[in-house]
Each structure stands twice: as structure tokens, then as C-alpha cells.
């Protein structure tokens, strides 16, 4: 961690049930974890409200390590069989990021598309009529190019109906997007 934001990581679990039985709550399963808590519904690791800034943290307490477990919201809730272990390290120097999104909205993008997107817009990246236009720009600090990839934590790439769009580059700004495969 070396950024000034207050969100760090998102933990996710999958549940094959639908409806309430498939909704998941996330909990930290380690006692006396300093500074951090978890958003119960999204699984995002966040800085606790009573921590004013990262500079107030005691660096000797790092790395901070804790367990996260998931529990569905069914009537007799079921626990995750595998817990996630989260380790947070403290980095003194504020390193320059090798790449940055040109638009901060790419950090958390929500896109609504029709299931017939491929038939309607063959070989075009996913976009909305009004809203996200399909291009994802990032700038690099180096002259060496870097790919942008699309992946899912739950689905193998071969079964995922989305791919990254071929990268184009002008100077140090690259452009990619998300393409529907079928």
C-alpha cells in the first residue's frame, strides 16, 4: 500500500445458489486486526473510519495479516470452506506507478449491455448508448508497451465470453477495451 485512497483490495467468493441463499457476507476472522476492516457486502478491505490518514499508522505493525471468510445469507447460513488470507505490507517510498488509468472510472466500471451485443455490434468493444464509450485508456511511464488483459476470478478464460481488445498505442498512451467473443 502506498496510495492515498482508503480502499485496498476486494475479496470475493462465489455461491451457486440464487436469491438470498446466494448473497454473501464477508467477515474478518482474525481478532485485533489494526487499522483495517471489511465492507461486509462487497468484501472490500477498507481503512477504518477512526484512522485519519496512512501517515498516522505505526509502520512497525506491518505486515498485517488476517483471515477473511464468507457466509451466505440463507436461513441456515453456510460458511466458505476456504478462507482467504490477506497480507498488507507498508511501503515507505511512494513509488511512481508504471501505469495509470487515464480516467479513474476504469477502477470500478459498471456497464449494461444487451445479451445480443455480438449480433448487434460485431467486433466492437462493449459500450453503452449514453455513458461508457468502449475505450479504456492507460498511460505508461516507460517506452516499453504493456498489454491490458481481461479475466474473471470465477470463470476460465476459455469459457469467458469477453476478451481484451487489441491494444493500440500513441506515444505513451495505450487504448484497449472489452470485446464480446460470442
Amino acid at each position: 500500500m502506498n496510495s492515498s485512497n482508503r480502499q485496498f483490495l476486494r475479496v470475493m467468493a462465489s455461491d451457486a445458489d440464487s436469491g438470498v441463499n446466494g448473497l454473501i457476507n464477508y467477515y474478518i476472522g482474525t481478532i485485533d486486526v489494526p487499522y483495517f476492516s471489511i465492507n461486509r457486502t462487497t468484501g472490500t478491505i477498507i481503512l477504518r473510519d477512526d484512522i485519519s490518514s496512512l501517515s498516522s499508522l505505526n509502520t512497525s505493525r506491518f505486515p498485517i495479516r488476517f483471515q477473511v471468510y464468507a457466509q451466505d445469507r440463507g436461513v441456515s447460513p453456510l460458511f466458505s470452506s476456504n478462507n482467504a488470507t490477506v497480507t498488507i505490507n507498508y511501503s515507505e517510498n511512494d513509488e511512481v506507478q508504471a501505469a495509470t488509468w487515464l480516467d479513474p472510472s476504469y477502477e470500478d466500471l459498471n456497464v449494461l449491455i444487451t445479451e445480443k451485443f455480438y449480433e448487434l455490434y460485431p467486433h466492437q468493444p462493449i459500450h453503452e448508448e449514453s455513458g461508457f464509450n468502449g475505450s479504456i485508456f492507460y498511460s505508461l511511464t516507460s517506452n516499453i508497451s504493456s498489454l491490458m488483459t481481461v479475466s474473471s476470478p470465477f470463470i476460465l478464460n476459455g469459457e469467458l465470453p469477453f476478451r481484451d481488445t487489441r491494444v493500440t498505442r500513441i506515444d505513451r498512451v495505450c487504448k484497449s477495451g472489452i470485446t464480446v467473443t460470442r
Binding site: 470475493m12 449491455i113 462493449i126 474473471s152 465470453p161 472489452i178
Partner: protein, 184 residues
């Protein structure tokens, strides 16, 4: 990835449920998965990561489907009054209610006039009659169309499937056996 569906056909004597498994392996179908959670990752060190949530809007692309395409049923002779003789039910894999709602009607192009006059089809797939039949009647054949009220996503037509229905008249057991002869 597996999608489970259920079809049903029902008549006055029996109800049978037919369970069918449909298996898709890939492709963009709201029927398989409506929300995708993805990571976009620029491959630098440390990686630059973004989160993308893609929600699919269901379109009316699935056709109403019958598990069985035809059935033979019987009606008793000499019965009177309004009576339901069967209810047929198709299913539609679309996930939005407006896309999977199915209505039923008599296909008057294929059904002959006599059959059409004696049997009536309700919106919900119920077939009823108020005719008093006699035993010598030839069988009737009805054709019933299952259709989505909403038009298909890419056309001005309805998505439909037809069902063929044969109805035969059977006699009541109202005649005793004949006289018994005794041989010596």
C-alpha cells in the same frame, strides 16, 4: 454451466412433470449468467487493476417450447356442461417475465372448423368443451399455438411453437355383458 428447466403437461387423469437439463458451455446469454465480474489488468509491475461489472439485459430470443409435441386424449360420451379436458404448458428460457410469458390460442389455419367449434382454448392453455359427444364420433384434431405476447428481439414476428392434440370419444360402460349360456 447448467441451466435447469421444467416443462409440464396436465390432463384430467394425470399430471406428469418432465425435467430437462440444458447445457451451454459458452456464449453470451442472460439465461446462463446475467452479471459478470471481471478484472482489467495492465501488465506492469505492480499491475494496474480495474474492476468491471457487466450486466446483461435479457432480450426475447428464446422460443416457447413444448416437451411433448402431441398427445391423444379421450372424452366420455354423453357428458354435459362446461368441462376442462386438459391444460397444456410450454416453457420459455428467457429470464425476464415479459420475455418468457407464454399465451396459448387455437391455430385456426390448421384446425378444421368442426374441431374448432367443439373445443375452446384459453390464454393459459386450458382446453374446454361444452359439447355432448356421441360414441360414433370420429376423432378431433386440434392445433394449439404457444406464443410470446412480446415480439422477437430482432423481428416483427411472434416466437411460437405448435402442439397437436387428438381427442377421441369413448363410450361409458353402460351395457351389461350378454346372456350366459350353459353347455352340457
Amino acid at each position: 454451466m447448467v441451466l435447469r428447466l421444467q416443462g409440464k403437461i396436465k390432463n384430467q387423469n394425470s399430471i406428469s412433470n418432465l425435467r430437462i437439463l440444458y447445457i451451454y458451455f459458452s456464449g453470451l446469454h442472460a439465461e446462463i449468467q446475467k452479471i459478470y465480474f471481471l478484472y482489467i489488468r495492465v501488465l506492469v509491475n505492480p499491475p494496474l487493476i480495474g474492476r468491471v461489472t457487466i450486466t446483461l439485459k435479457d432480450e426475447n430470443d428464446q422460443i416457447p417450447t413444448f416437451d411433448l409435441r402431441s398427445i391423444i386424449l379421450s372424452v366420455m360420451e354423453n357428458e354435459e356442461g362446461n368441462r376442462t379436458i386438459a391444460q397444456i404448458q410450454a416453457f420459455d428460457r428467457d429470464i425476464d417475465d415479459e420475455n418468457n410469458h407464454i399465451s396459448y390460442s387455437l391455430n385456426t389455419d390448421l384446425t378444421d372448423t368442426t374441431a374448432g367449434q367443439n373445443f375452446h382454448v384459453e390464454n393459459d392453455g386450458r382446453i374446454w368443451t361444452d359439447t355432448k359427444f356421441s360414441e360414433q364420433q370420429t376423432p378431433y384434431r386440434l392445433f394449439i399455438t404457444a406464443y410470446n405476447d412480446k415480439l422477437a428481439w430482432n423481428s416483427t414476428k411472434n416466437l411460437t411453437e405448435d402442439f397437436q392434440f387428438d381427442i377421441q370419444v369413448i363410450s361409458n360402460n353402460n351395457k351389461p355383458p350378454g346372456k350366459i349360456f350353459q353347455y352340457q
